[in-house]
């Protein structure tokens, strides 16, 4: 696996033309997370339908291609799903979405930043606490 595989065309496309990028006017969930090592930032906003589905979702932020493309892809994946689905989401899902790149420990945190923001926001809305026990912990 080489960096050419990490930065596949689709990743670069999401980096340069992020889908669901921006802010929602009305939202029920808002979550912000950063990766202080890189200075990557991701904000996720969600409008909840019927108290249980992700009706609308947008993200904004800045940072490396991996963090931004991954957050953008994740919003597409999450749209229309039940909030409970977010709980099942795993590190493998995110890496699979990116084409299973071989990332070192510092760059994995970039890939998982969007998921961490999403989980923190959704768990909070559901009255739970996200404990980071699926590979996104320790990104401080």
């Amino acid at each position: 696996m080489s960096s050419a595989d990490i930065y596949r065309e689709v990743v670069l496309d999401y980096y340069r033309n992020p889908r669901n990028f921006g802010k929602l006017e009305h939202f029920d969930i808002s979550s912000h997370d950063t990766n202080p090592l890189c200075g990557d930032e991701v904000d996720i906003q969600i409008k909840v339908g019927n108290g249980k589905t992700i009706e609308e979702i947008m993200f904004s932020g800045r940072g490396c291609a991996i963090s931004q493309a991954s957050a953008s892809m994740l919003t597409e994946l999450a749209k229309g799903k039940e909030l409970e689905w977010v709980k099942q989401l795993s590190k493998q899902d995110i890496l699979g979405m990116l084409g299973n790149p071989e990332l070192g420990p510092s760059r994995i945190k970039c890939a998982l930043l969007g998921m961490k923001a999403l989980k923190t926001g959704v768990y909070g809305y559901l009255g739970a606490t996200y404990d980071g026990q699926d590979g996104t912990e320790g990104s401080r």
Partner: protein, 412 residues
Amino acid sequence: MLKTEPIDLEAIRRDFPILKREVNGKRLVYLDNAATTQKPRQVIEALVDYYSRYNSNVHRSVHRLGEEATEAYEGAREKAARFVGASPKGLVFTRGTTESTNLVRFSWGEKFVKKGDTLVTTLMEHHSNIVPWQLLAKRKEANLRFVSLTPEGTLDIASLEEVLRDSPALVAVTHCSNVLGTINDVAKVCSMARKVGAATVVDGAQAVPHFPVDFAAIGCDFYAFSGHKMLGPTGIGALVSRKELLEEIDPFHGGGEMIKEVFLDHSTWNDVPYKFEAGTVNIADAIGLGAAVDYLTHVGMDKVREHEMALLRYTLESLTGVKGFKHYGPREPENKGGVLSFNLGDVHPHDLATILDEEGIAIRSGHHCAQPLMRWLDVSATSRASFHVYNGQDDVDALKAGLEKAGRIFRL
């Protein structure tokens, strides 16, 4: 034009065991020297020699090993002091630049800064020359003001004059920026500051490793540097000052070794610099720093500087043509240390560092502990290549090829 004989690059490289290492099957191209430099075997051997032959505490044991260790530790102090044009009595060993600026914050700041005073630093500082002053300002209800920069990334003298009208208590400035490479005329800044009665602190973390430094000629009150950025071990550095000033300010840490006499209700302080070296000091690494000073002295700091200037010139020339290459800071090697910050098109520095790592090239990417400067540059991060004496044109050529590869992957 070279003023002196160039260095013997191959001989120097043989002194650095780590340079034999491969990364991802490629020759290690180490261009992250502003973060920390590699260590020559002479430094590594000095550490091994201390631990295997005369490991002992200093200043308190009268046995043979204790005397040898004390002699080596004090010998290192003399070497380090002489290296920067200071007197050994004026050199306090610390953990590094960060501990040195914090020592000034507590020992000088607690005693002399008053409510409503102004403290001054600049927009190009490392966090270690900003945060201590923020904390001091907060505690003393003082104001912290920043000298701004010219578009080329040098200190804006008009802005300095403006803040000096406040008659600040302190002016803190870096000798050489770890991001832009800008070498500041610190003698001039200190002389301007002194005229309005300000104490002066100079951050020499990126200066002492790369060019000759003369504390006495700069005329500052405090000068800080780190051993690990000048071929020495981590965990050791220095705060340089004048003996009389060190006598005037308060101790930093309290404990053993820094006292003369201890009573139940008070204590008296040891002579300087020992008054600031509480507890068992970092003996091994101080000795290692002494060995690094010997090494650099042997190579010659004028030669180190000329080598890095030539490399800087070569790098700017060869990278300027690379598609998307954008350089930050002064371009003239005469005003610039061996540090080069840049971006490549819209490739985020961390993505660039990942691609270069695959080629065995180590650069730094991020905010370089200089977030106010990043905001001033209006970037979230930069990539940074920084040199030391073992880097050569082949390293720059590898960097150039790596940047071109990144440009292809990102379709710039």
